[in-house]
């Protein structure tokens, strides 16, 4: 996918001023968040906590021993008759997929949802090589038809109203103008049925990969995942290297966490466990199974102990749904594959911190994401870490504005001691006199603070600071005694 992270300020402003988008988002995101809450209540918060703790431990252990489990997974997949490929970055991954397709004369591909394939920009490349690649997840299908990128990890077409979808289908699928959501789903079902049955190759993502048994797991609702893995002769699974879990029994807790956190479901309609190509005696299934394990900058997250836990992510989207910032600016503002809080962490690492310098800062650090994350990822910590990298990190990471650096200097001087602070106070008291209006400031002619003033008043500095009040009255309040020490002494009254 093209990197558009530099456009953050513009893109987020566009989203904020798009009333229609704001209305659609308000309803949609609330729906997901409510569903998650209900699902958590159903198992009780106490039990949910035990799941979260277990989930986190499994991921932590796996990531710490990632090489071991990737090796085990590879051996077992190969033992099942599958082929495992390794790609350092998306170009290599795309070449692998192309080569598999080319060698088998593949002309038609059906795809089920894979964020990794978005990183690869896979569809575009396949089309360029004369291979039709159809997205089969309804949301992905919609945005493929409209030429957009996913808006949300779980619901890629969340930003589209049913009217827009109806219009899109009538234009692209040549249906009559549809108004009912049910009929739109039917139209998609019909159109895609044929594609499933005629496809030469199915490409899927991987939600989890069980090392012990060489099994990839797909968690879906629509049935397209089952179609892509059962009908075509060749199945290619694209896997981010962090998706592995050690044991089959680990899937129990993962399946308790992911559906609830993502859509508030007890479990999705389908969970599909693929362990290699069909066996000789199977009635159907693909003759070939290829697993493409991809790095694409995940090693960068792995290499930094403070950022490593970002690899625990199970891509549920709960952090998006709860984030006050995401709820206002939506997925497209983030300018890359992964939006929301987790996106604000992984994107700068993947595309380069200076290019995505807004992402770690466009957060109020409210911590709601940390609270809802099913595997207890501490996103705010990582955002703070990235912020310090932007200021104090290596040459390739640093990008801070002169203004910020100047402000921090001024702050440093002002706050150096109560003495300097007192003088700053006196200065501001004088400067603010002409700006005061009923105890508040309406305008501040300093560039950065003036932005605050667009929609809010700013309080004026109090005539006497607490320091002054303490010295004058509060200190000696009770008994009229006082010890005049210097400012490093503790002033204790009896």
């Amino acid at each position: 996918m093209d990197v558009k992270t530099q456009r953050f300020q513009k893109a987020s402003t566009e989203a904020l001023t798009d009333d229609r988008l704001q209305a659609v988002m308000a309803g949609a995101i609330d729906h997901f968040d409510q569903a998650r809450k209900v699902a958590v209540e159903e198992v009780t918060p106490r039990v949910w906590e035990t799941y979260r703790e277990r989930g986190r431990k499994i991921k932590e252990h796996t990531i710490e021993n990632l090489d071991y489990y990737l090796e085990l997974l590879t051996n077992r997949v190969e033992g099942n008759g599958g082929v495992v490929h390794f790609a350092r970055h998306t170009d290599e991954a795309t070449s692998i997929v192309l080569e598999i397709a080319r060698a088998r004369g593949v002309k038609r591909v059906v795809k089920s949802k894979s964020m990794l394939s978005e990183e690869m920009g896979l569809n575009r490349v396949l089309e360029a090589h004369g291979i039709e690649s159809v997205e089969t997840d309804l949301g992905e299908y919609i945005i493929q038809l409209s030429g957009e990128t996913p808006f949300h990890i779980i619901a890629p077409a969340m930003h589209k109203s049913k009217e827009e979808v109806g219009e899109l289908f009538s234009k692209k699928l040549h249906t009559k103008r549809l108004t009912e959501i049910k009929s739109m789903a039917s139209a998609a079902r019909q159109a895609l049925r044929r594609k499933f049955l005629e496809a030469d190759m199915g490409i899927t993502g991987v939600n989890f990969a069980v090392a012990e048994t060489g099994t990839i797991v797909l968690v879906t609702n629509e049935g397209n995942g089952r179609m892509c893995t059962s009908l075509p002769k060749v199945h290619v699974a694209l896997m981010g290297m962090e998706k592995v879990v050690p044991a089959l029994e680990d899937m129990a807790v993962m399946l308790r966490l992911l559906p609830r956190a993502a859509t508030g479901q007890r479990i999705t309609s389908y969970v599909t466990f693929v362990s290699g190509p069909r066996r000789r005696t199977d009635e159907d299934g693909p003759d070939e199974f290829h697993l493409v394990i991809i790095d694409n900058n995940r090693n960068k997250l792995l290499a930094d102990p403070e950022l490593r836990e970002a690899l625990n992510c199970i891509r549920c989207g709960a952090c998006l749904n709860i984030c006050p910032v995401y709820r206002k600016i939506g997925g497209h503002s983030y300018g890359y594959v992964y939006p929301g809080p987790i996106g604000a962490v992984v994107t700068p690492v993947m595309v380069g911190l200076p290019k995505a310098k807004d992402l770690p800062f466009a957060s109020s650090l409210c911590g709601a994401c940390k609270e809802v994350c099913p595997v207890k990822i501490n996103i705010p910590r990582m955002l703070l870490k990235l912020r310090s990298d932007l200021v104090e990190g290596s040459r390739s990471q640093r990008k801070s504005s002169i203004f910020d650096r100047l402000l921090s200097r001024i702050w440093g001087i002002t706050m150096f001691s109560s003495f300097t602070l007192a003088w700053a106070h006196r200065l501001i008291i004088i400067l603010q006199k002409p700006l005061k209006h009923e105890g508040n400031l309406r305008r501040i002619p300093i560039p950065i603070l003036s932005r605050w003033m667009r929609a809010r008043d700013f309080p004026s500095l109090a005539r006497y600071s607490f320091h002054q009040k303490w010295k004058k009255t509060l200190k000696d309040e009770s008994k009229g005694k006082g010890s005049a020490g210097n400012e490093e002494d503790l002033n204790v009254i009896k």
Binding site: T414, L461, K469, N491
Partner: protein, 259 residues
């Protein structure tokens, strides 16, 4: 409680010495909040000292990525409060800066990290101190009116202080508590966030204001001055007649100082 235990508790309370870290926002903009804190604690028989060398906990520069500066600031504060038995902070975000992030700041220097952890252990947010340490829920204050409460993010999620402010406000005679929708939702302040991304900040704030107005309350309370600045700023600009108060100010209302 037996007589001995009550006496011991009362004696302990009477001898309680607390150091106040008033925070830069309160010191400079809302000194009356600091006054209220002092009044409330003194009214409970607590002895207060105010280390005058204090300025800022360093959160603004820490949040902006300037950790070197934040460390310098933290060191000063750690030195200043080294001998304080209890440090009370009328701000969720400043208290959590000390408790959660000071040890983090000194992660690589074992000696400072130890001192930071020690300071963190002795530091309490104001409402946390009253309820958890002093076991007090009724200050003896009174205020008549409908009051709603905004839970500030660091207080809620870093410090885990959830019930205490509500317990305290409910203990004020005459107060009618009206919980707001989205009480735990961010107000959009986030420090520098509100000036770096003011439009996003404001979009988030609008929802909070809407929730406040919907309660019909006369007063909106918070334990964080940053949040209050953000909320008050919008209410004043839009001429909304809801009064905003720090919890300490409510607890200081017509307070009858019992012992």
């Amino acid at each position: 409680m037996s007589d001995t235990v009550t006496t011991v508790t009362k004696n302990w309370l009477r001898n309680l010495k607390v150091s106040l870290f008033v925070t830069c926002l309160i010191d400079q903009f809302f000194p009356q909040v600091g006054e209220s804190v002092v009044n409330v604690l003194r009214g409970l028989g607590v002895e207060i000292d105010f280390p005058q060398g204090q300025t800022c906990c360093g959160q603004p520069v820490f949040n902006s990525g300037f950790r070197r500066q934040a460390r310098a600031s933290a060191k000063r504060l750690i030195n200043l409060f080294e001998t304080s038995e209890y440090i009370v902070v009328p701000s969720g975000s400043c208290a959590s800066m000390i408790k959660s992030f000071y040890p983090e700041l000194f992660r690589d220097s074992p000696v400072m990290k130890e001192r930071a952890e020690q300071m963190a252990d002795r530091t309490y947010e104001f409402s946390q101190f009253l309820v958890e340490v002093m076991g007090v829920t009724d200050i003896g204050a009174s205020y008549s009116g409908a009051v709603t409460y905004h839970a500030s993010c660091h207080l809620l999620r870093e410090l885990g202080v959830i019930e205490e402010p509500v317990t305290l406000l409910k203990g004020v005679k005459g107060v009618r508590y009206v919980p707001m929708d989205g009480l735990n939702e961010c107000c959009g302040f986030g420090g520098a966030f509100s000036v770096k991304y003011p439009d996003i900040s404001h979009a988030i704030l609008k929802d909070k204001i809407r929730h406040i107005e919907a309660t019909g309350a006369d007063v909106v309370l918070s334990c964080d001055s940053g949040c209050l600045m953000q909320i008050t700023g919008a209410m004043k600009r839009n001429k909304i007649k809801v009064r905003s108060m720090h919890l300490a100010e409510l607890l200081d209302s017509k307070a009858s100082h019992g012992r």
